[in-house]
């Protein structure tokens, strides 16, 4: 008869998966059980600590609803989301790097023409964005689908406001024949992730702040190229080295130049300061994703 003890239990659990018909599920669960058990052994987890963990996960589950995904927040703040993003988006050095998707993307954002103001009422210092989309060889990528979304000057996305039903600070546009695109918006600001729940309590207990540095989200799709999901961060932001969700890749930090009131790039006169940002996005070829040779 089996004797389950601290030395035998891991192999006994793994042997119980012998009949799993999905080999990938079996592989994932095998590794997961091994690491879960190794963690408990490494720290000699006490029964009281185990129960605190159960209570923490219960709290994470109970605050999660259609509008708030605390498990994703937990994954983000433990660096798991960014690690998974990195593992799944290996590409040649010349390509624009990927970063985390985040929870604030909205399907069916409004379509805009180049030059339009995607702020659509979002508050903030005006910001004029120009971009260029190319392949690795520098060839322009015309008619790419460019989705952009961002927080306003108070650090909130439109979906975080009660009662805001219009799309503000988000939209879709297409690159022109030369691969370029341009639009007006407002300057994104740094903001704290939701920290009034269990993940916020975890961050506080670890002496961590909940802030993300200012950034503009992009998702770019074009036939023949890999989809690119990334941010452009603002140089000089105080949280660039301590992003609560570990999303900062140094290649994604750009200068969002500030200008005195006056004539803007679109020819209008602006009576406040405004910024300009220019960034080139280099797409990887479709089907060229580099995976390691892990089993």
């Amino acid at each position: 008869m089996q004797n389950v003890d601290e030395d035998t239990i891991t192999q006994i659990v793994l042997a119980r998966h012998a009949d799993a018909t999905d080999p990938r599920l079996k592989q994932i669960m095998t590794s997961m059980v091994q690491h879960l058990h190794a963690f408990a052994r490494d720290v000699e987890l006490t029964e009281e600590e185990w129960f605190k963990g159960i209570q923490f996960l219960t709290d994470v589950g109970h605050i999660t609803d259609d509008n708030r995904q605390e498990f994703i927040l937990l994954s983000d703040t433990l660096g798991l989301s960014m690690l998974v993003t990195a593992l799944n988006n290996r590409k040649p050095r010349e390509c624009t790097e990927s970063t985390v998707f985040g929870p604030f993307f909205v399907e069916n954002a409004p379509q805009y023409q180049n030059g339009d103001d995607v702020a659509n009422g979002a508050k903030g210092e005006p910001c004029f964005v120009t971009g260029r989309i190319t392949g690795i060889g520098g060839e322009p990528v015309p008619n790419a689908r460019v989705e952009v979304w961002q927080a306003d000057s108070d650090g909130f996305y439109d979906v975080q406001y009660e009662g805001v039903t219009s799309n503000q600070g988000r939209g879709m546009l297409r690159s022109l024949a030369d691969g370029s695109f341009h639009f007006r918006s407002v300057t994104a600001e740094s903001y704290p992730i939701p920290h009034d729940g269990p993940v916020g309590r975890m961050l506080a207990a670890l002496g961590r702040h909940p802030w993300r540095p200012a950034h503009l989200h992009f998702m770019i799709e074009a036939p023949g190229y890999e989809r690119l999901i990334t941010h452009v961060f603002r140089s000089g932001d105080e949280y660039l080295d301590s992003d609560a969700v570990f999303g900062v890749r140094s290649s994604l930090v750009a200068d969002w130049q500030q200008h005195a009131p006056g004539r803007a790039p679109d020819g209008t006169e602006i009576d406040t300061s405004f910024r300009t940002l220019d960034f080139t996005f280099v797409l990887n070829q479709a089907g060229a994703a580099v995976r390691s040779n892990a089993a």
Copy 2:
């Protein structure tokens, strides 16, 4: 500036815990992040698989309420609960081994005298239980607090029945001057853990059944001794080698002898078959818990 990539992210996350003031929390989170990241790397977790994991944990959280603790069930079925029990209950070879506590203990169960029927209406074949509580040297432990709880012949605990408010198949009694105790109950049967939720779906996907072998729960406390939480399993049960929660230690399996109708140990005439069970519980000295020298 930091560049977060798949090679640097783990150290960057761990460095973010530099200001944690609780050294034990820091130790636990350091190991947890290392193993979580190592798991994702080992299996090259895809973004789709990551999201399935998020959805699974969300389902576990949403089915959990005051009456159902699916996270504990998840911990149980992954062998984590039994591993933590084993790590925290190392003791000399002569002592009765511990096993998982389970979710069906109830505070303030009725007090019984030796010889009483703790079934209190629970269905099943009569079972007469005798026990002895000793220390390692064989000395009897009188006046120990003995809590017992069990499922009925349908495999259900009282708390699993809608509308059953009396305590059935559970109670507290005290050992006598010679360390012995005895009571009447019903024969516990094997039963499936709740498997109509996400944990049940996980077990099915892994080709695992949800059954636990028949067992009687005991929690024994006496001054000067370590509290003992354990089960006594029934020899011959078909699930002894495949307990869904990995709780079987071979030293805890006993013969629950079946007898033809006739005179029972308490002198009464029984017109059905009945069983007798005898087990000796050897308690560890208080303060003698063996912990390894892990940091």
